[in-house]
């Protein structure tokens, strides 16, 4: 009886040993050489697998880094300059440096400013709604508020503000991976240069309609009047498609344009309150007619 146990163990061990030997030689024969630096680079990456670099995940990005001679077109937006310099040390190259960026919503069409002209009660994703129609306010360029950007963000950096119905980017959590920018069907999220203390000045409007029409559909629309363009001392503002655009690289955050804007479509964020309060800017002149809400049509 005991012999049976001994034979069994011996046989199985024998098979095991033979297989191990075979497997060893097979593994030697078909060995795929992998650069050990890939692992090293991968370990230095944030392991978020967000796809912000344009690759499917951190591993693919590490492979691409090792394979390419320079860091041309390769940048991990999440890790930023720290991670890239670590990777550069591993690979013995010069690190590329980029200015840190942050996602910014270029729309301020909150519920009060941009009244609804009809009701949408279909599938609740921005991509599908925008494929079906322009939006439930008079503006076909603005935020739809279903939060495709919120779903796309893997860092919990965006949430929808229930009062305004617009997404809010939390600057400290935003890694500028660009997932929200890709997810937004209206193209109203933009990666902008991250300034000191997260200060920002930007035109929060993408409405390309002529001024009067844009104004009719949204009280805080950019009407393309060009006042900010004239007042800017640094030539940071360009006009086009009935819109002003502030180049974050040229902007020196002087805030002259903010007080000049007749529709308050230029937004300043992160600044201390102004000391000398001049006469209140704004007091919008001209037609302040509410948007045509005669058509209570749902979609």
């Amino acid at each position: 009886m005991s012999m049976i146990i001994v034979y069994t163990i011996a046989t199985l061990s024998g098979i095991g040993v033979v297989s191990a030997i075979v497997l060893y030689f097979v593994a030697q024969k078909f060995k795929v050489y992998e650069d050990p630096r890939i692992d090293e680079v991968e370990n230095s990456l944030p392991a978020a697998n967000c796809g912000g670099c344009g690759y499917a995940g951190c591993r693919n990005f590490a492979e691409a880094c090792v394979k390419s001679e320079t860091f041309d077109g390769l940048y991990c937006p999440v890790g930023g300059n720290d991670v890239m310099s670590k990777a550069a040390t591993i690979l013995g190259r010069n690190a590329v440096e980029k200015e840190p960026q942050v996602a910014v919503l270029l729309c301020n069409g909150h519920c009060d400013a941009s009244p609804k002209t009809n009701i949408y009660n279909g599938a609740t994703t921005c991509a599908i709604e925008s494929a079906l129609y322009g939006g439930d306010t008079g503006c076909t360029f603005g935020c739809l508020g279903h939060g495709d950007c919120v779903t796309a963000c893997t860092f919990n950096a965006i949430h929808i503000d229930t009062d305004t119905g617009l997404p809010v980017v939390i600057d400290d959590k935003c890694t500028a991976c660009g997932a929200c920018v890709k997810a937004c069907p209206k193209g109203i999220l933009e990666l902008r240069k991250r300034a000191k203390a997260n200060r920002k000045i930007y035109v929060a409007c993408k409405n390309e309609e002529k001024g009067a029409i844009a104004k009719k559909s949204c009280a805080v629309a950019c009407i393309g009047c060009g006042k900010c363009f004239k007042v800017c001392p640094y030539e940071a503002i360009t006009m086009g498609n009935n819109l002003a655009y502030i180049d974050a690289d040229k902007c020196r955050l002087c805030r002259k344009c903010v007080s000049e804007c007749p529709t308050q479509s230029i937004i300043e964020v992160g600044f201390p309150p102004r000391k000398i309060k001049e006469e209140a800017p704004g007091a919008v002149t001209g037609e302040n007619a509410p948007a045509d809400s005669s058509n209570s049509v749902s979609n």
Partner: protein
């Protein structure tokens, strides 16, 4: 024997409220707005400028490419501007705005109503004239008619199928047209037969329109090779693939066209437009539009000039009911909700449906319970629940493999879904994106 297609299909309530209303003519509106993209394919290019005086029937926008169509002025008057106007979805598209002054038609149009049976033109001339006069499929897809009428080399057409099915609930524009213009339609069929070189034509009509079946049978007796086929009522029998399957029992291969199996399908409205173009020199600038709804005072069929705002039609049909919740441009199954009432009638607009606020509200979207009702309803034999999920998740390569491009967007799946899932919305989103990917690959 009544025929129908086998795969899928649904039976929505018919609600053909305006079937006995006849076709009413309208006084002209004060202004018309003519979008430059009224057909499938490339938008046309405006050839008039601000301030130009145009006559009814004058060419105002030229076709840009093979799959495109000319647009003619539906009224006489002055071009006030060429600007953007919202489409049903609210997106702005280029359009020509004309202020109506009188109603002066160009001289070449024969405005008499007598029937002209002699066809003088040759095959090539007919196709050329159809293209010149801007005729598109009036069933809704607005595919340029001359493209369908030019049979590609190496393929032969065997049957001409005339689509008088009108399977969409509520709509009666084709029905009314068949009752009033049966003789003209039969001549139009002869013209189309000559254009595509076939001897046999079959008119398919669902048997909820017995008067139309009788009228068309009577009118077509004198014409060799033209017959009427009564069909069982089933949505979406008016889809050309379903109609061919019902009448000829042939199946269009996936990704193929009806001509691959020897059939060419035209809507009765398009056939009537062909008759008017060839025999009366009249370009396509008016069509029959049904204005209907349960709450509306006078459900009607109007002969409408293209570019007329729909508010004008609604007023003439008794005004907008208080509790209107949705204005549908087209029929209830395939139509689109309009964002306002200033949208103009275009070539593809077969009806305006006003739905009350109680009926227009969608059910809350609930999770799919895998009951597979949509699978049995799909007339193309697809799996809508799967396509919808893939669309929702933007998995476009799998969508392509699951044949999303074969979807005819009939809406039977959304109609049957007990969980109130907007299956078609998801699928349409996927289909649009897959279409883009496929075009980019070419």
């Amino acid at each position: 024997m009544l025929k129908t297609f086998k795969t899928g299909g649904v039976h929505p309530p018919e609600n053909k409220l305006s079937s006995k209303a006849g076709i009413a003519s309208l006084p002209l509106p004060k202004t018309v707005v003519i979008p430059l993209s009224q057909h499938l394919g490339v938008p046309s290019k405006a050839i008039v400028c601000k301030g130009d005086i145009v006559k009814t029937g004058q060419l105002i926008a030229q076709s840009e490419g093979f799959v495109s169509a000319n647009i003619h002025s539906p009224v006489s008057g002055v071009v006030t501007k060429i600007d953007k106007t919202p489409d049903t979805g609210g997106y702005k598209k280029d359009a020509i705005f004309i202020d109506v002054q009188g109603d002066e038609w160009i001289e070449t149009i024969d405005r008499s109503t007598e029937l002209n049976k002699t066809i003088n033109l040759t095959q090539g001339e007919i196709v050329k004239k159809i293209a010149e006069f801007g005729i598109v499929g009036l069933g809704g897809a607005t595919f340029p008619a001359h493209v369908k009428a030019s049979v590609p080399k190496g393929k032969t057409a065997e049957y001409l199928i005339i689509n008088g099915v009108e399977c969409e609930p509520y709509l009666t524009s084709d029905h009314a047209l068949m009752l009033e213009k049966a003789e003209e339609i039969c001549v139009g069929i002869e013209i189309m037969k000559k254009a595509i070189g076939v001897s046999k034509a079959i008119i398919g009509i669902e048997n909820n329109k017995p008067d139309a079946i009788d009228t068309m049978k009577r009118a077509s007796t004198g014409y060799q090779g033209t017959s009427v086929q009564a069909l069982k009522v089933k949505y979406p029998q008016g889809g050309e693939k379903q109609l061919i399957k019902a009448i000829l029992n042939r199946e269009v291969p996936s990704g193929g066209l009806p001509i691959d199996i020897g059939a060419v399908v035209f809507n009765v409205g398009s056939i009537f437009a062909v008759y008017e173009a060839i025999q009366k020199n009249k370009p396509l600038f008016e069509r029959v539009v049904t204005v209907t709804g349960k709450e509306i005072a006078k459900p009607s069929n109007f002969k409408v000039r293209i570019g007329t705002p729909i508010s004008y039609l609604i007023d003439l049909a008794g005004g907008m009911p208080e509790n209107t919740g949705k204005i549908i441009y087209g029929g209830p199954m395939m139509g689109k909700a309009a964002i306002n009432t200033e949208i103009p009638v275009v070539k593809g607009c077969s009806g305006i449906l006003l739905v009350s606020s109680g009926e227009s509200c969608r059910k809350a979207i609930e999770p799919c319970m895998r009951c597979s009702k949509c699978v049995s309803a799909c007339p193309m034999g697809l799996e809508p629940y799967l396509l919808a999920v893939l669309g929702e998740k933007s998995m476009f390569d799998r969508l392509e493999a699951e044949k999303v491009m074969d979807c005819i967007e009939c809406g039977s799946c959304s109609y049957t879904c007990p969980s109130g899932r907007p299956l078609l919305d998801y699928i349409r989103y996927g289909k649009t994106n897959v279409g883009k990917i496929i075009r980019a690959r070419k």
